[in-house]
Symmetry: C2
Subunit: 355 residues, 2 copies
Amino acid sequence: MSTSTLSVGSLDEITFSVEDVPSVIEDYFFEGAEKLLEIWFDKNQGGATSLRSIPYSELVAMLDIARCHILHSRSSECMDSYVLSESSMFVSDFRIILKTCGTTRLLHTVRRILHLAKIYCNVDNVVSVFYSRKSFIRPERQPFPHSSFETEVDYLEEHFTGGSAYCIGPRRQDCWFLYTMVAPRAAFPFPEHTLEILMNGLPEDVLNVFNPSVSKDGKDCRMKSAINTILPPGIIVHEELFNPCGYSLNGLIPHSDHYIMIHVTPEPDFSYVSFETNQNTLNLSEQMLKVLEIFRPNKFLLTIFTNDLSNEGKEAQKNLWDLKICGCHRTNLQFLELPTETLVYAQFERAENME
Amino acid sequence: MSTSTLSVGSLDEITFSVEDVPSVIEDYFFEGAEKLLEIWFDKNQGGATSLRSIPYSELVAMLDIARCHILHSRSSECMDSYVLSESSMFVSDFRIILKTCGTTRLLHTVRRILHLAKIYCNVDNVVSVFYSRKSFIRPERQPFPHSSFETEVDYLEEHFTGGSAYCIGPRRQDCWFLYTMVAPRAAFPFPEHTLEILMNGLPEDVLNVFNPSVSKDGKDCRMKSAINTILPPGIIVHEELFNPCGYSLNGLIPHSDHYIMIHVTPEPDFSYVSFETNQNTLNLSEQMLKVLEIFRPNKFLLTIFTNDLSNEGKEAQKNLWDLKICGCHRTNLQFLELPTETLVYAQFERAENME
């Protein structure tokens, strides 16, 4: 995913010094790997309304801080979906998911999000926070605090207490960082699970589709790539084919807070695709395999979070644990128990890479 | 474990700058948590003899580099055991295990160990390396490269290639670091497992035993503490009660390369006990529980490595996975798949601590 125009951040929100500005970019590069932030507020807090009552103009100003902007949005009964200049945002009554790629300053939005929740939704109890990302290819090009996970955690700890920070996978190779904070006595009395697939090194015939010279628009990308075959019936989709290249899709599953996100960075030198969903209308493991069939990555990592109430999440974790993929070698498998959820993490690499 | 005299390292081996020297120690503190290094050499390398043919004087000089020395040693048919001024060393034909606490410079010995293996044992193929340690209470007091895991990994990577570095557990709380390198196509055609228990915050009545004012020698500590009840029959034991306080025990199980190590730092302000064994003559899970009964720590972490051939290791991992300990809360559980082994890691904390 690429973008040619960047909105200017509200400078009063951002305090950064000269050292924080990445050095001049000498060669063209785009960091496809996203920063992903998910914040859950307390729906039981007295007087709480809904995060969806935050005015559009305030969301625009908040995203300005991250250095990205809204391209278009769709809504279902339960959720508002925004395709951004860099990735996606989903706003439900008490949950906000913000996923931004490139050199966006995602964590700079935290203070504003907390402020907006208080002003417009009357809620300041944060029930849980998840911040995660894959290791960057070029961390030195990231703005403060994103150039290292240490500084990101420092930043998060200015806003939240009692969190834990994990590095999953080998620290100096492809790995994945997770910060999570769950408030004491927080309970999630409903099934919750999330599948994420982060893919690198895709074949050129797969990548070509996500170029305006090959596809005329987002829908054309969706059909040509076969992404349409993995979308559940009835899904509300909005999507973008970027110029000069790149693709984003947000999908909302009606009558639920379930979503799908797909982001494609198709430049062969640093190709990257992410797929994320919390849906339960399909078999998660089957969908995982279909996604891998469509994108045929050389290297990929899979994460499945689930709480104990989600049978589908637990089943998908079990399947991931036992997963064999023809022609691929599992280079890492980890399990992590968190206060209200568990995580299974697996990394794979195509065998021919490893000769 | 404490020591009043330190041997002087061979300065030609150690290159350190003024910055590497820890700042003046203002208050009395001893870092009980050990650095643990295990190196396996290739027994199939042509002309290879045995690491046990390394002369004693060379081992003394090697340990000088780490800033520790041999107190006494015992041998079985398969292994030589050394109780050190700071922890323990075990030398088998093709495996060396060196575990040192305090502010020892363990990793500085790597070059010398590789040199000695080549000169005296005719072997320079390293099959696998494991370096691990718990997070230090006072990392700033550690000499280079031990003040951070990053610099330790840098140091290891000067000697070994193809390794992976992991942080297990939450990075900013109690956690555990592991570097592991397994040579491509390395095979361990025999069952292998290791249990380690690292304990903090022990009750004073447990700690008191490990003082010369209460116990007259190492054997007296062993009997009074009930450590004797967890030792298998026939074990060859040698042990030390330190002055002013502290205790170490090495045990060799005859006709095998199996060992037990126990190290006790009994100062209440920074009490720490470690237990490690690779034995298979007892039920590992039962032994784990007995160790916890003897030491009654407030916080502890357990690690079990096993390869696929060790039914006992796999069983112990499974038991650890399901382990409930009355009055204790599991604060972390992780599983990690490595090239030839798997690891289960669990952290516990006494519930009354967590109110």
